[in-house]
């Protein structure tokens, strides 16, 4: 009996360990592909809507999340543009992220250079880059939940989704045009250069685009499915800049992070 018990115990231990082994391996970033991670989607938002504390606050968020998974030795930049203001030139997201190539958590290449990432020629644009639902992973290697994954009725309600990490949250803040550059000044596409959590006055038109005096941010989809087009960096706008407004259309204020080195 004693012996049988011991055998059972050993077998259980072996089984448990073998089940854990793959997840232990992928818990360490970059191990699977052997190429260091230089791209990820933030696994969590900052949490104050589109007020990210400006570009500096967003960059710090990237750096902090990278640090947690042991990738803090690189310089991380949030893929965000800011629009020109008097005495302050625009900043283009594509000019902030280095020259690539960029690899995800799995060591899979997202794009070899800026031209492929943004489809700078029509031939490149038609083929697309390699950012898909299966490669647009967080710094922890998670797929970002998108349309049709988990059909949770309250997935547009921040009060619910903030404690339910698997709800659809596939809208990434970019504030950018399709080519990765900032929108011209005037109409807001960056929630006041990532400092605003304001919403439009109630009663206005229900649209997902910028307009005069309307708080708004441009978003894209890492799973390439949404907005009727699937653009990764410039699909449509938001219903406002607050956390609840972002969540209304299935975003939570997450964004892309790229390592510049």
């Amino acid at each position: 009996m004693e012996l049988r018990m011991k055998i059972v115990l050993v077998l259980t231990a072996v089984l448990a360990l073998s089940a854990l082994a793959p997840s232990a391996a992928i818990a360490q970033y970059g191990l699977r592909g052997g190429t260091p991670m230089t791209f990820f989607v933030t696994s969590e938002p900052i949490g104050d809507g589109a007020n990210l504390g400006g570009l500096a606050g967003a960059d710090a968020h990237c750096q902090k999340l990278a640090q947690v998974v042991g990738a803090g030795d690189r310089t991380w930049r949030a893929y965000l543009s800011t629009q020109a203001l008097p005495g302050q030139p625009a900043v283009n997201a594509r000019d902030r992220i280095g020259t690539g190539p960029w690899y995800n958590f799995d060591g899979v290449m997202i794009a070899r250079d800026l031209a492929q990432l943004h489809g700078d020629t029509i031939e490149l644009a038609r083929m697309g880059n390699n950012l898909t639902k299966r490669t647009g992973l967080t710094e922890k290697g998670q797929i970002v939940p998108g349309l049709n994954d988990y059909q949770v009725p309250r997935d547009s309600d921040w009060e619910y989704t903030k404690t339910t990490p698997y709800t659809n949250r596939h809208e990434m803040l970019t504030g950018s045009q399709l080519d990765g550059r900032a929108f011209p000044p005037g109409v807001d596409y960056t929630c006041n250069n990532w400092t605003s959590n304001r919403d439009p006055a109630p009663g206005g038109p229900q649209v997902l685009e910028g307009g005069p005096g309307r708080p708004n941010a441009q978003i894209g989809f890492p799973d390439r499915n949404g907005g009727g087009n699937g653009s990764w960096n410039s699909s449509h706008g938001t219903s406002g800049c607050s956390q609840t407004a972002l969540n209304r259309t299935h975003g939570v204020g997450m964004f892309y992070c790229f390592a510049t080195n």
Partner: protein, 243 residues
């Protein structure tokens, strides 16, 4: 002793469950959200003809589209397979994009209502699926894995789904939807060969080969049914209602 068995049970049950939960499989879409069949103007064939790249030419492929649509209860439409053929002496090339009408095209499914409570999927548009302008090419179209369903409204297995993968879709076309102009075979000899040759394919799930092309991702290394299967396809193709 009882406790040990309890823990064993937990080990056997919980560990695999959490492993699966952490996995990246997708949850299947509900099947109850068909739209009226009269609205469907686009689908991926639910089954291949089965003779590799020999589809009986464009006529054979069109007839297959027509047969599947009729079987799904959609009548009164002229269906065209999205396939190009290459030029031969005395026979000009045919571009897939020129065969399918002007669109826009709807698939067989409703979607979950969006923020503005729209239930109908955004249709696919001729200029968007082919990226006719740089902006359109960059932005992309709504031809996603969820849109590219069969005439029965079923998803096509792609990368990450249970095997066999069926996402290689025969097109014989360049990314702009036109026939190839070089001498090499890209159409399994204009869809008559089930042996030698090659066919250009796209991916209905927009994943594979490092690009997202739905209509021109890579070439196959042969035209037999076995060759197609070895690349992750079975010889499916896109069908469009040309009205």
């Amino acid at each position: 002793m009882k406790k040990i068995f309890l823990w064993m049970l937990i080990g056997f049950v919980i560990v695999p469950i959490t492993t699966v939960a952490q996995g990246r499989g997708s949850v299947p879409m509900p099947t109850s959200d068909r739209i009226p069949s009269s609205l469907m103007t686009f689908f991926v064939t639910s089954e291949p003809i089965g003779n590799g790249g020999n589809l009986g030419g464009l006529a054979g492929a069109d007839a297959h589209c027509q047969m599947l649509a009729t079987r799904a209860g959609v009548t009164g439409k002229t269906w065209r397979a999205y396939l190009s053929t290459q030029a031969r002496p005395g026979q000009p090339a045919i571009n897939a994009r020129d065969r399918i009408g002007t669109g826009p095209w709807f698939n067989a499914k409703e979607r979950i209502p969006d923020y503005l409570n729209r239930r109908l999927q955004r249709p696919i548009i001729q200029s968007e699926i082919h990226g006719d302008t740089l902006d359109e090419a960059r932005r992309g179209s709504n031809l996603t894995k969820e849109f590219a369903v069969t005439e029965k409204g079923e998803l096509i297995n792609g990368i990450g789904d249970p095997l066999p993968t069926r996402h290689d879709i025969l097109t014989g076309s360049q990314p702009d939807g036109r026939a190839f102009t070089d001498a090499a075979d890209h159409t399994c000899n204009n869809w008559t060969s089930n042996g030698a040759g090659s066919a250009q394919v796209g991916h209905s799930d927009r994943v594979g080969n490092g690009n997202q092309s739905w209509n021109s991702s890579h070439a196959t290394t042969g035209c037999s049914q076995k060759d197609l299967v070895s690349w992750g396809g079975v010889g499916l193709f896109y069908c469009f209602a040309a009205e």
